[in-house]
């Protein structure tokens, strides 16, 4: 008996066609094509169920809904949650409206962000930094005071900087889905919303450290690594050990011979696929505890590898793509015979050096 394969759906994203399985979201389809067309995601986290839709960074325009109903969708949609349909045409970086909305989202996210990257441990591996580098402006139009919060102690391992938080809710989903009890959540409303445990309770759980890895910004950082080093001066190495509670597959971050930080391994979308326990993360910091597998693959474009942001390496074809989408042939209806260039004798051109020579 032949196995029935699910009908693959054809989607076109920025002019590139891809075939995906039913139920795939636009974002996942775009990721399948590659990082050049993948919309940025500040809150969506593929391993966490229910995440996404909050930051609005991944907004895209659906120029044609499907083969059957080719009408465009009236509003920009969050690509992380919108499932694809057969024959869908999506405009991501090729649509000025999308770019404009994304510029707006960066501006909104940075509005109350302290911009303390020089002293922030997340700098260099920060999603917001990357997003702002791609879509932000160097100046601000915001003249008012930035929102600040009272310091909140979450226990011996996790440092919370609420002012840096962009309220992606990833840490909330992580605590719900990875740990056995969630003690922190979002309190208050609107721009006063804050991540907190109720009445400053410490987060005490074997897997609580994972909230540090999922945090897209420097709101949740590792207290055992605080101010130890800049991430681009450290060397990441893949390693594993026999851990009774978790998979034990980690990345060790070396400074010289010293392991200064242990994190879970992240894929190219900086998503953790195998969460690790607190013992591995915070208490196992000797090389002798680990079996080294080899250097972690770091993208050439990453700040960790290049020590700086490389505009050319991150989105090589972005400019051309936008220009191509915007290009319209000029309809010049003037009588070309009247133009002076036509009247020049042909030998004048012959004197010019030809392209071959």
């Amino acid at each position: 008996m032949e196995e029935t394969k699910p009908q693959l759906l054809r989607v076109t994203i920025d002019g590139i066609q891809v075939e995906v399985e039913p139920g795939t979201t636009i974002l996942q389809a775009a990721r399948k094509i590659g990082p050049e067309v993948a919309p940025p995601a500040m809150c969506y986290y593929q391993p966490l169920k229910g995440s996404g839709g909050k930051c609005r960074a991944c907004l895209v325009r659906v120029a044609a809904g499907s083969e059957k109903d080719p009408r465009p969708m009236p509003k920009l949609v969050a690509s992380c949650l919108t499932p694809v349909q057969d024959g869908m045409v999506v405009e991501n970086t090729t649509n000025p409206q999308v770019i404009d909305a994304r510029n707006g989202v960066v501006e909104f996210l940075l509005l109350n962000h302290p911009l303390d990257c020089p002293v922030c441990d997340q700098a260099g591996e920060c999603d917001l930094q990357n997003f702002a580098f791609d879509h932000g402006k160097a100046t601000t139009r915001y003249e008012e005071d930035r929102r600040t919060f009272e310091k909140n102690d979450l226990g011996p391992y996790i440092q919370l900087h609420m002012t840096r938080c962009i309220l992606c809710y990833r840490c909330v989903y992580t605590a719900d889905q990875i740990t056995n009890k969630r003690v922190h959540g979002v309190l208050n409303r609107g721009d006063a919303s804050e991540i907190s445990t109720y009445i400053e309770k410490a987060i005490d759980n074997d897997f609580s450290g994972n909230v540090i890895d999922v945090c897209p910004v420097g709101a949740l950082t590792d207290k055992t690594y605080r101010f130890k080093n800049r991430v681009w001066f450290t060397k990441p190495v893949d390693a594993h050990r026999d851990c009774p509670t978790c998979s034990g597959k980690v990345t060790l971050w070396y400074r010289g011979d010293e392991v200064i930080r242990v994190t879970a391994r992240k894929n190219e979308w900086s998503e953790v696929t195998e969460f690790i326990c607190n013992t591995c993360r915070f208490e196992t910091k000797k090389t002798s505890d680990w079996t080294i597998e080899g250097p972690t693959k770091v993208s050439r474009a990453s700040v960790i590898s290049a020590n700086k942001y490389r505009a050319d390496a991150i989105k090589p074809s972005f400019g051309q793509r936008l220009a191509a989408a915007e290009y319209k042939p000029i309809h010049d209806e003037r009588d070309t015979t009247q133009l002076s260039i036509q009247q020049l004798p042909p030998e004048r051109f012959a004197k010019l050096p030809s392209a071959e020579s």
Partner: protein
Amino acid sequence: MATKILTEHINVPGIETFDVYRKQGGYTAVEKALKTMTPEAVVEEVKKAGVRGRGGAGFPMGMKWSFLAKPEGVPRYLVCNADESEPGTFKDHYLMKNIPHLLIEGMIISSFALGANKSFIYVRGELMYVIHILEKAIAEAKAKGFLGKNILGSGYDLELVVQPGGGAYICGEETALLESLEGKRGNPRNKPPFPAVKGLYQCPTVVNNVESIATTAWIVNNGGDAYAGIGIGRSTGTKLISASGHINKPGVYEIELGVPVEDFIYADEWCGGIRPGHKFKALVAGGSSVPILPANLALTLANGEKRLMSYESLSDGGFATGTMLGSGGFIVFDETSCIVRNTWNFSRFYHHESCGQCSPCREGTGWMEKVLHRIEHGHGHQHDIDLLVDVAKKIEGNTICPLGDAAAWPVASAIRHFRDEFMWHITNPQEATQPGAVYRGDLALV
């Protein structure tokens, strides 16, 4: 005398009790529906009536009902949205307080039509005394056999639950309401899935406004075609309008849709005109979230015809020259009111009520409020006006729920129509910050 569907008996003494309501012909629709009609027939009548959602969005109620998924073995729910919190809107409060049995009758009919055996009325937390009135009315209806098991021997069971909200405006958004009803934080959900597929407790759910549900009693009694005969065009039936502001007779009025705006403001039957000695400056036609209109555009369309109180006529001209009927919060401003101050006030409300889930609304509403505060208090810059327009544009349409749009529209429209007044505040800060100072420049007062 105009047709009254909801408020016909509202002034009868003791109408809040079951006996008086029954004597006025109450609960006959329940009897008719449960004894002689099938649920599908009720849905069909409501579809024929063409009632458009009275909560603000104006989505046809019958169509919403027909979207309800009906999988086997899964309960369906009806939720009545009584979380009326829009500034300028107070019609549901008026209806529930005075004639609670009308809502309960509507709930029984609607629940029967949708096949829901447990229905909820989510009432705004501030209206605790209304909750007591509703609970008393439900107890009375239950005692008379109109609620509970086997209603009127038809074999249909219905339990009605009144749930007080926590007092958040955002919980008037249907998915935030469902979250709140489930006991969670009132954050709107991402759509799709729509509540008709996955709503309360992940079961198919219909969320309707108090006024929409209350109309079903009349529709069952008189037929959908009779209801569709009232009103104008696709705006069928009657609408409760909460009139407030600088008018002689503020209050809740039931009008047939299609009454000219001019008549509604100036006729003695309704608002009774602008207060003596003053002139009409601006109108917010459907609650604080709809675009504000200057007097001339409020009374006439761009093509010179009279503007009518209907969904189509009020939105004629798009946002350039039109507005929306919204929830019917009709706020009239005379020339003593400052549009900048008013816009700031609305903006402050949306800043306070934003749930903080998605970034454009969380950060943008606060930003707009701060800039407007600055302009109002004499510290504005000329580029602030364009900044506000740009921020409003970047919020609009990019958020999870319509609160972002609702916050952006009043600001964008106020600047669109009253730009000079904003400019006057910026260029004459000394004068503009005097107590009671109002722009007296070139305005189209009526």
